[in-house]
Symmetry: C2
Subunit: 154 residues, 2 copies
DNA sequence: CTTTACTCGGCATATACATGCATTATGACC
DNA sequence: GGTCATAATGCATGTATATGCCGAGTAAAG
C-alpha cells in the first residue's frame, strides 16, 4: 500500500498550519486526507510533537496551531538529551542535591550544558572527573529535576 | 473569604512558567496553592488562554508551558475582534465571497485590519462605505473564515 | 435596601491530545 | 528469500484541557 513518507507528511503539516487557521489535530488530519494523506490523530499528535508546533490561544477561546521560532531557543534541551544518553551513567539525589555520574572525564562537558539550561531552580553545578553535583533550591525542585533528567535517558 | 485578584494570580502564573519547568495546568495549580492561591484547573485553563501561554513540545514527549513572544505578532487578531464588535453589523457569504456590513463609514477601517491578517486564503478585500467584500480562494475557505469572524462577534 | 448587570470561579463534563501495546512496514544482513 | 532489528502507525484508552451552566460576589442604578 502506498504511503507518503513521514517526512513529506510533516512538511505538508508545517505548510498547512502557516497557510490555514487550524485549531485541532483532527482538522489537520482532515486537510491531509484531502491531499490523499490518511493518518489518524495519534500520528499527528506525534508529528506535532516532533515538529514542536504549538497551539496558540487567541485569547478568546480560539486556538491556532503555529510553528514556533521558540524552537531554536529550546535546542539546549535536545543537546542535553543527546549528551546524557551518551555519557551519563547514573542519577541520584540527596535532599536538594542531584548527583550525576558520567563516563570518566565527561563531567565538565555535561555540567556545561546543564548550566546552559539556565534554570532558576538550579543554584549551580560542581563538576569533578566523572561526577557532577547539581545544587537545587530545594528538595522538591531537585526531585522534579531528577524526574526530568531520568526521562532523558530512556 | 480572601481571594487574591485574578490579575495578581495571572502575574504569578506568568512568572512561574518562566522560572520553572511546568508541563500541565494541574502543576500550575499545585505551585499556586503552595503560594496560597487556590483555584481549580478550569480557572487556570482560562488564565492560560487569556495570557496566551503555549505548551511547547520538547520533541521527546515532554511539554513545557511558556509565555510567547508570538503574542505580539498575533495582536492583529485582538484588534480585529475589538473593531468587529464595535462596528460590524452583519456577515454573509456567497460562494467564495464574504460580505461584511459595518456601521456607516467604517468599512475601510475594518478592511484595513482584515488585510493586515495577511491570510493566505484571502485573495483581497474591497471596501465601500459600509460594506466590505472579502474575496477568498474558495468557498471552503470562505466558509471557514465566516465561522471565524462570526465567533469574533460573540 | 432592592434590582440589575456583570465578572469570576467551581463543578461536571465534553473535547482534545498523548501514549502503551500490538501490528505492520522498512531495511540491513546473511 | 529468510531473519533480525528498527521505525512507523493504528487502536483503544489514559491524561489533559476547554467549556456550559450555575451560583456567589460586586458595583451601579433606582
Amino acid at each position: 500500500m502506498y504511503m507518503p513518507s513521514k517526512e513529506y507528511r510533516q512538511r505538508v503539516i508545517e505548510e498547512l498550519v502557516e497557510r490555514e487557521f487550524i485549531s485541532t489535530q483532527a482538522e489537520i488530519a482532515e486537510h491531509l486526507s484531502r491531499r490523499g494523506i490518511n493518518v489518524t490523530q495519534a500520528t499527528i499528535s506525534r508529528d506535532v510533537n516532533e515538529l514542536r508546533l504549538v497551539r496558540l490561544p487567541a485569547g478568546n477561546g480560539q486556538h491556532r496551531y503555529r510553528s514556533t521560532p521558540l524552537a531554536a531557543q529550546e535546542d539546549v534541551v535536545g543537546e542535553l538529551a543527546q549528551r546524557f544518553k551518551l555519557f551519563v551513567r547514573d542519577l541520584d539525589r540527596g535532599e536538594n542535591l542531584l548527583v550525576v555520574t558520567t563516563d570518566e572525564g565527561h563531567a565538565a562537558g555535561i555540567a556545561y550544558v546543564v548550566d546552559k539550561l539556565d534554570r532558576d531552580e538550579i543554584v549551580g553545578t560542581l563538576a569533578g572527573q566523572n561526577t557532577i553535583l547539581v545544587v537545587c533550591r530545594g528538595a522538591q525542585q531537585a526531585e522534579a529535576l531528577l524526574d526530568e533528567f531520568e526521562s532523558l535517558l530512556e
